[in-house]
């Protein structure tokens, strides 16, 4: 059993490597750009699968956490502190090594927070926000939970859209690269493309491993009990609200990390990353992949995001995801990638209790 769970991850890793080698061979290295972006979106998917699939809590606002991570790291790494050079806070920050003096695209001097510190700060803030929001939100059920998460996502969107410091409608640009360790940098430079592909998917593999361990542990069993029958779980002494909250925070962190890294890769971020349509897209991907089916969600998510980012859906990008939502929820709410899918659909069409009319 222990070998089994890691086998899938190993296969996955092999696929990731294979794709890179194939694209290089076929001379299609530029495809890696969209694949890398899809990889960072997959981090959100992982977190959301955990939340929606394993604890059964829907979130229509997860793009909000992605945006919080992305915007915070963008802001901190580009806000010029030179005018405040003599303030106490700035000198203290400089001493702790959190700041870096660099030159921007046009050769001007900027004193800003260095990417590692910004990343950590973004994640910490996300945890704080998820903690504060999570407690009351997770007490809600069904529609009210959906509405509350939708509300959260909308607030984040309106805030980034309306705040001048965050670039308002234009967003933030000229984000510097993120040097992880000497030799590994998250940035959009063409020369570092292959490196960045592996950084992105390496993170995904890390995330998947974390998830797998979690699910096969005591925590995982507790989660499944919550999903199955929360009251019973409570009666058994499982602290359901604590579990739900922790999973919520974890899924938020996944999204935020995706946001931080993608922002550095893209070199910029805009309010569109926080929009409700984005959150709906994530939910559509989870739905089509299968609520608790991580591999399904990851593969479908990668394919869909890849195609969308390359413009295959043209002007009807949103329509595709809307269509997916409707069709999947209607016919295959457990997702597409199941072996008994066709049998299930046939059953759905045949099983008609006390019918007054046939469906067309």
């Amino acid at each position: 059993m222990a070998r089994n769970k890691y086998l899938r991850i190993a296969i996955f890793t092999a696929c990731v490597i294979a794709i890179q080698i194939i694209t290089s061979f076929a001379g299609k290295t530029p495809y890696l750009t969209q694949l890398t972006m899809a990889g960072y979106y997959s981090l959100v998917i992982i977190g959301l699968t955990l939340l929606m699939g394993y604890t059964g809590q829907i979130s229509l606002g997860h793009a909000g956490f992605f945006a919080i991570g992305g915007y915070l790291s963008a802001f901190l790494t580009t806000y010029n502190l030179i005018p405040y050079k003599d303030k106490l806070v700035v000198t203290w920050l400089a001493k702790t090594g959190a700041l870096v003096m660099r030159q921007d695209l046009y050769g001007r001097d900027i004193l800003a927070v260095q990417p590692w510190a910004a990343c950590i700060a973004a994640v910490l803030v996300t945890i704080a926000i998820a903690y504060v929001i999570g407690r009351p939100v997770l007490k809600l059920k069904g529609h009210y939970l959906a509405m509350a998460t939708l509300g959260f996502g909308t607030i984040v969107y309106k805030i980034v859209l309306g705040t001048g410091l965050l670039g308002a409608a234009d967003g933030l640009s000229d984000i510097p690269g993120f040097r992880l360790i000497p030799g590994l940098e998250v940035s959009g430079k063409a020369a570092l493309r292959i490196q960045n592909y592996y950084i992105a998917w390496g993170l995904v593999i890390l995330g998947v491993t974390l998830l797998t361990n979690l699910i096969h542990s005591r925590v995982g069993r507790a989660l499944r009990s919550i999903h199955g029958a929360e009251d019973a779980a409570n009666a058994m002494g499982v602290n359901t609200s604590q579990y739900k909250q922790n999973i919520f925070i974890l899924s938020a962190v996944f999204a935020a990390v995706g946001g931080v890294f993608l922002t550095h890769f893209n070199g910029g971020i805009g309010p569109s990353e926080a929009s409700i349509m984005k959150s709906v897209r994530y939910v559509a991907i989870i739905a089509i992949g299968g609520m608790a089916n991580l591999w399904g969600a990851l593969s479908m998510g990668t394919v869909l995001n890849f195609l969308s980012l390359r413009g295959y859906f043209g002007s009807y990008d949103d329509a595709v995801f809307g269509f997916i939502l409707v069709v999947i929820m209607l016919l295959a709410p457990e997702g597409l990638l199941r072996t008994d899918l066709f049998r299930d659909i046939r059953k759905r069409f045949q099983h008609k209790p006390s019918q007054e009319e046939q469906s067309p």
Binding site: P136, A148, K158, I159, L330
Partner: protein, 311 residues
């Protein structure tokens, strides 16, 4: 110092506080009525099915856009009638094609389906009508006609919105209280199995609820379009405001929705007085979240009854 510039027109020697207040109030009532009508549409479907229909905003948009299209061929009242009927048909179709044949599905799943439907309707509207903005002509007067009481001005169209909404509410109330069909719908809403035992066809009630909601939304869209214009994506933000109001009042309670709509509209309007307008929507949503956290049954909702509602 005697030359005449725009500053010396007596008009500008300051608005009385009361008149300022009243103007904001009127603005708030305008927004609020629009929200309330959308919320009532939500409530009708919610009462019959337990679903929150995210496509409600799209019904409003469809009503407006279709009416504008028909208006090029028909006189205004017929265009509006035609738009309402067409949208009602769309509502019925949505129910029949997507909702009806699902056997005892999870209500949340249906709600997610309505999100997808809303997106599809929006994209179809984009394909049909493009990205331009459209509006019906003002029912009475023009864009600048106003009825003035002292220094407070209100456009006649706003009065149309308020009066048509009021008439709709009265008719609905009458329908649900005194007609057989309406009573059947209410029976279905409170206890579907018992209703079926009495011979009421639950499925038809559901279709009827969609038809009614679509009709209300469409009529609202027509009467509001001269003020707000309609575009292919007008539906989304309306939907969000609409169900904010529905929840504020207590899901399912249409009378409360009216009050809640007015309250929200007025709050928003006064918030502009004191805060940067950019964060106006943040206020609405924060209120929503607050209500959800503190009193999800809504300001006027019955706490026990809402706990009993199954999801």
């Amino acid at each position: 110092m005697g030359h005449r510039t725009y500053a010396s027109i007596p008009f500008f020697d300051g608005m009385q506080h009361i008149e300022l207040l009243s103007q904001y109030l009127v603005a708030g009532i305008t927004y609020g009525t629009i929200y309330a009508v959308v919320a009532i549409g939500f409530n009708i479907i919610y009462n019959a099915t337990g679903i929150i229909n995210f496509a409600q905003g799209e019904f409003v948009m469809l009503g407006g856009m279709t009416a504008v299209m028909l208006h090029t061929l028909l006189p205004l009242p017929l265009a509006i009638l035609g738009a309402v009927i067409i949208t009602m048909t769309v509502g019925a179709l949505i129910e029949i094609v997507f909702i009806r044949w699902l056997t005892s599905p999870a209500v949340l799943r249906l709600t997610i389906i309505t999100i997808g439907i809303a997106i599809l309707i929006r994209e179809i509207a984009l394909a049909l009508w493009g990205t331009g903005v459209k509006a019906l002509p003002y029912f009475t007067g023009t864009a600048v006609t106003v009825i003035s009481i002292g220094d407070v001005h209100i456009s006649p169209q706003v009065l149309w919105v308020i009066s048509i909404s009021a008439v709709m509410v009265v008719i609905l109330h009458f329908f649900f209280t005194y007609t057989l069909l309406g009573r059947q719908m209410r029976a279905c809403a409170s206890n579907r199995d018992a209703a079926r035992l009495c011979g009421i066809s639950a499925k038809n009630m559901v279709t009827l609820s969609f038809v009614l909601s679509a009709g209300i939304g469409a009529l609202a869209g027509c009467v509001v379009s001269p003020i707000t214009y309609v575009q292919y994506d007008s539906g989304t933000s309306l939907a969000i405001k609409g169900f904010t109001v529905a929840i504020l009042g207590g899901l399912g309670n249409s009378m409360a929705a009216i009050a809640a709509g007015l309250i929200l509209g007025i709050l928003e309007s006064f918030s502009i007085w004191v805060m940067p307008t950019a964060y106006k929507d943040v206020i609405a949503i924060s209120i929503l979240l607050l209500i959800l956290f503190v009193r999800p049954s809504g300001i006027f909702g019955n706490v026990e009854a809402s706990r009993l509602k199954e999801f």
